[in-house]
């Protein structure tokens, strides 16, 4: 199984911005948050969708809003956690 650690983040964020056609602005802050999470919890598994069972419980969390605002009011991983728990 492939493990993704912080050494993969640079390429991952460049790829994410490419696939988002630049939407969402600079991925720098998201990269920092991911870096901290990886430091705290260790590398994550990269799996193929086919490997998931048909009834797997999958939650995707996203954010909406204006990049100009998030330049000043920095997002936090707590926001994602609170969304999941709420």
């Amino acid at each position: 199984m492939v493990k993704l650690g912080s050494d993969a983040l640079e390429d991952l964020s460049a790829g994410a911005v490419f696939l988002a056609t630049g939407g969402g602005g600079d991925p720098y802050v998201a990269k920092l948050i991911a870096e901290q999470a990886l430091e705290q919890y260790g590398p994550v598994d990269l799996i193929h969708p086919e490997e998931l069972s048909d009834d797997a419980y999958v939650v995707a969390i996203g954010g909406v809003g204006a990049p100009t605002v998030s330049l000043e009011l920095l997002p936090s991983i707590d926001d994602a956690r609170a969304t999941l728990q709420g």
Partner: protein, 517 residues
């Protein structure tokens, strides 16, 4: 008459300008105490030109000392980093993402407070006096005397930062403070980084300004002195004490402005070749093209407005390897004059290739066993690197003239294919000191206006007048002051017509008679 001095890490360059003419110039080694190198340069200029001390109207200094301090992690003070904006960003503390050595140099004293405003100036949450009091107590307990304060949306609403600064000044007399709204634009992390670096340099700035003043006094100069900043304008001594970080890119800016002065070209590509790097920049309308991307200083992201520079690892001291197919990025630097083969050393450098091919005459030591193929390959490698760099920086596919400046300009001995013409003007070795000498005094005003309340024309005129008045107040000659830059930013999510207007006016340094009539 004016003197321009550029204090680099290796060389101290100086020029004496009589009007537009270079009356005298010198390139000397930077002394470890900086001061004696400046005194030596002044001594040369004055005795060489026969000009009396009293005829000098102003001295302009460019310095890389603050940039070098950050890059080398020297002379940095410990700083208390106060961020105002909770609950946002509580996972991303100040100095997140910094190289660990520079974070350690600043001490990682981090304080997160509730407060700050939203984009429209409404409070995010009020400052909590108890919370602020606790932070001040802790700063006192840790004996910290330098603080950087950054609040969410402070470029639009600076009050929360100012309120904390006032309380700190009351509680800790003599405390050094940088508020982020004074030094950066929107983008909390980058602005906070800029404020932290600036704060860490405040005490060093006091020493540097004192050293400059005493160097001039020692040589009998009592005229005002100024320090050049990133955008090519000047700051007076008091301003440098507060904003040393605004000098970070003054070196490249001065080279570009000097190249413009020496050739009269307003649109050109300038290559400043030093001992270790070639810095390629673009002149647009006589001023450096600014970078649109985040600039790192010593590994720390900032959002200063800085010239767009491409640095290549190619300089006069660059090591030549692989039979001339690889040059740099390693360099013998200022040891070129002892280690380079042309100077009797045994290291093959880029300069040696030029000497061996007969294109340059320095050193004088005889060459032995240097294969002609190595020389030929090496010269081609140099040309290829410079051509590629020029192509990367060209604003369009139309070739521009290229101006070569700096002590290593001899490396580009032939016309560059990527250039419409190649210039290497007289005095190009001291272009940066010339750029410092011709720097102007600026005034900058930023206002939030609404074009529905005040017409765009009237708003521009009003803010431009304020900027002109500020330039004159800072020492510019009123008859030469003009608007150099207008930045209009429409503010989304606010009432229609809301615009942030930033206008910069510049003018020549007023002569000794200023203020009369």
């Amino acid at each position: 008459m004016k003197i321009g001095i550029d204090v680099g890490g290796t060389h101290t360059d100086a020029v004496l300008l009589r009007g537009d003419e270079v009356a005298s110039s010198i390139k000397a080694l930077t002394s470890s105490d900086v001061t004696s190198g400046i005194i030596e340069a002044l001594e040369h200029l004055l005795s060489d030109s026969g000009v009396a001390e009293t005829e000098i109207e102003a001295v302009m200094l460019g310095t890389t000392q603050f940039t070098n301090a950050v890059v080398e992690r020297r002379q940095l003070s410990e700083v208390a980093a106060i961020r105002v904006g909770l609950p946002s960003g509580n996972g991303l503390l100040p100095m997140t993402g910094w190289p660990s050595d520079i974070a350690a140099a600043l001490g990682e004293n981090v304080y997160m407070l509730h407060g700050g405003t939203l984009y429209d100036g409404q409070p995010l949450s009020p400052l909590d006096p108890v919370e602020v009091g606790r932070v001040i107590d802790d700063i006192k307990l840790r004996n910290l005397d330098t603080v950087a304060i950054s609040a969410a949306f402070s470029p639009m609403t600076p009050e929360p930062e100012l309120a904390i600064a006032r309380q700190l000044q009351e509680a800790i007399p003599g405390v050094h403070i940088t508020c982020s709204h004074n030094i950066g634009r929107l983008g909390l992390l980058e602005r906070e980084n800029a404020a932290l670096l600036n704060a860490a340099l405040l005490k060093f700035a006091g020493q540097v300004v004192g050293a400059f003043r005493s160097a001039l006094t020692e040589r009998g100069l009592t005229c005002p002195f100024y320090v050049s900043q990133n955008d090519g304008t000047l700051m007076d001594a008091e301003f440098v004490r507060q904003f040393p970080a605004l000098t970070f890119a003054s070196g490249p800016t001065n080279s570009l402005r000097g190249a413009c002065k020496l050739t009269g070209l307003e649109d050109a590509i300038v290559i400043d070749i030093g001992g270790t790097t070639s810095d390629i920049g673009v002149l647009q309308g006589g001023f450096p093209r600014e970078s649109n991307i985040v600039i790192e200083v010593g590994g720390v992201r900032t959002n200063f407005r800085m010239p767009d520079i491409l640095a290549l690892g190619l300089g006069g001291g660059s090591l030549v390897k692989d039979d001339g197919n690889t040059i740099g990025p390693r360099s013998v630097g200022h040891a070129l004059v002892t280690e380079g083969m042309a100077f009797g050393g045994d290291t093959l450098t880029a300069t040696d290739l030029l000497v061996a091919s007969g294109r340059a005459k320095v050193g004088g030591a005889p060459f032995e066993n240097l294969p002609p193929a190595t020389i030929e390959n090496g010269l081609k490698t140099i040309r290829d690197m410079l051509n590629l760099g020029v192509e990367k920086m060209m604003p369009s596919s139309d070739p521009l003239p290229v101006v070569l400046v700096g002590g290593g300009a001899i490396l580009a001995s032939d016309e560059l294919d990527a250039a419409s013409e190649t210039y290497c003007p007289e005095h190009s070795g001291v272009a940066n000191a010339i750029g410092a000498a011709i720097a102007q005094i600026g005034g900058e005003v930023e206002r939030l206006v609404n074009y529905r309340e005040l017409s765009r024309e009237d708003a521009l005129a009003q803010v431009a007048n304020e900027a002109r008045a500020m330039a004159v107040g800072a020492g510019a000659d009123a008859s030469t002051v003009r608007v150099a830059d207008i930045e209009e930013t429409t503010i989304s999510y606010m009432a229609e017509g809301s615009t942030r207007l930033r206008i910069k006016a510049v003018g020549d340094v007023a002569g000794p008679g200023r203020g009369e009539g």
